[in-house]
Subunit: 334 residues, 2 copies
């Protein structure tokens, strides 16, 4: 490493996302300003990363010549485009030059590159995407949100441990309560997968049993474990519901002149509420189980989401997320 | 039938639900008042159903001596308690004395009784629970919401047809657009189940392809097809989110004295919004695929939800839901 040990280095894909590179650069600038211990390796085309790095402290350029597009087959693209921003970013992590990698580009490509280039933590069967959701109580971790559409019970048992490590590292929750997403509270309920996962999870530290859909927004547990199909539906549904209900609420506020006056009075409070419900606040999903930090952002990430992703990434690195996952899964084998 | 043909007769389980019989009786009273063509066969213990029926026009008592409790094993209870309100209610449908049966009691027991006593429509592989959800556009039908935790692709293909029949019968949508709930829009995305179901659905009238979680509240399609595990999680999550977000709004409105004044101005509009989002408005889920109408209410159904269930039930009966499903599935075989 070329930087002092108290500095956290994140490689950032300057070319990934619907609003790249503009939104990425703005987000990096905000993150560097907010966190003097953050260092960014900005990965992308020379004409984008070099001028920006020259103008910003704690930022170094890593010029690449290729870009993996959204439509490409992930694994094939990762194998053929070895000088793409995604592959090079993962290589920086593998070589120890960066503590983590962030991209708002193709989720499939980042997943493939993280798995092929960085590799899994020993013993991990399937890496899983985790995300942090706002709830009526404290935020909670949901995983898998889409890395594995079809799961075996053993995967879910590992997701529980990885999710608990992430809740500790990212949210500071010392003894996370883990819930298995199911369609009934009692043991023996649900799909065969959920029933078998329940049995496997029964001995796990912090396992609080089954939870149902309504328990997620209620904030009943700190970690919600499910397969990548259900988790992805849940995540997108929650985003859609927040947007829909805020829209309905806004329409109600604007439905008459006298309402509009009242709405003006309420504006600051409603702005704070919107912020609280904003998924951008925890906008990045780490791929847990990789032997290094790999973070994915929404394709539609704006500067704020990107800055927040880098903040979350730095927090996870400083909390020793990867070694904590390795230790937690290692205990399983012992 | 002992009633004129233009009258719709619903058998109602007076003993089912957390607030039975009080809430059921209040709901029946409201439904009878609202709909002069509705006739109710009130099924339950004599001391409950007889005085009520004596005091209300268009209501007849059917006295039973047994109750299936929430904790009982559904199929076993249905087989042994042949004079329970749930079994007798289904028998009234089987014998043609009622057009439909409603209960807010044990979902499992109603499902078992409907299947064992009334029986399936010929050709139906698995009956499915359907529910109507509020969206940003028109309400939409979601199924299966919990009858089948594990599904085969063929079940989902039938759910699509049954759901379309229900959207036409209950919501008056002539050519319903059907979406398959998935974790990506393109064909070939998702779990093995979703991929195989997509292939089967490709020829179905009205099939609009894959939709994602966020498309449900957006109201992109009229019928959302999924397995009973995912559907149940979606339904309960939407209920939880509505409750959570309305709670957050309320807290924001009450966060300062000046906000409270503004909130008072907004009260009528917000009341209308709460009503719009209220799942009680479409509070009953029919078990589609049964050779007669079987409707389940939330265990926590209040009078309003029960009245609404009877309204929905009468609408579905008058629209010929059961024969429409039979015809739609019959076309499949032809």
């Amino acid at each position: 490493m070329t930087h002092p040990s108290h500095v956290t280095t994140i490689a950032v894909d300057a070319m990934g996302g619907d609003f790249a590179p503009g939104a990425v650069l703005e987000g990096v600038e905000a993150a560097l300003t907010a966190d003097p211990s953050l260092r960014v390796l900005l990965v992308g085309s020379a004409d984008t990363v070099e001028p920006f790095a020259a103008a910003h402290e704690h930022c170094e350029p890593v010029a690449t010549t290729q870009i993996i597009e959204m439509g490409e087959h992930p694994a094939a693209a990762v194998r053929s485009k070895t000088d793409s921003s995604i592959v090079v970013g993962c290589r920086l992590v593998k070589e120890g030059r960066a503590d983590g990698f962030f991209s708002a580009g193709s989720t499939g490509a980042v997943m493939a590159a993280a798995t092929l280039v960085i590799g899994r933590i020993k013993g991990v069967q399937r890496p899983a995407f985790a995300t942090v959701l706002p709830t009526a109580g404290a935020p909670c971790v949901l995983l898998d949100v889409g890395a594995n559409a079809d799961c075996k019970p053993e995967y879910l048992a590992q997701f529980a441990k990885m999710g608990a490590s992430y809740a500790t590292a990212a949210l500071g929750i010392r003894e996370p309560r883990i819930g298995l997403l199911n369609i009934g509270e009692e043991p023996g309920k649900g799909s065969q997968l959920a029933q078998d996962a329940y049995d496997l999870l029964s001995g796990t530290t912090g396992f609080a049993g089954n939870i149902e859909g309504r328990d997620i927004p209620a904030g009943t547990v700190d970690v919600v474990v499910t397969d990548g199909f259900t988790g992805n539906v849940v995540l997108k549904l929650m985003e859609g519901m927040s947007k829909h209900l805020l829209g309905e609420f806004k329409a109600a506020l604007m439905s008459s002149p006298v309402n509009k006056v009242a709405a003006a009075v309420l504006k600051p409070s409603l702005g704070a509420l919107r912020d609280k419900l904003d998924p951008d606040l925890h906008g990045a999903a780490p791929l847990l189980g990789i032997d290094g930090l790999a973070l994915i952002g929404h394709g539609s990430s704006g500067p704020r989401a990107i800055a927040s992703a880098l903040r979350v990434g730095a927090v996870a690195v400083r909390a020793g997320l990867v070694s904590s996952i390795a230790a937690s899964l290692g205990r399983e084998g012992a």
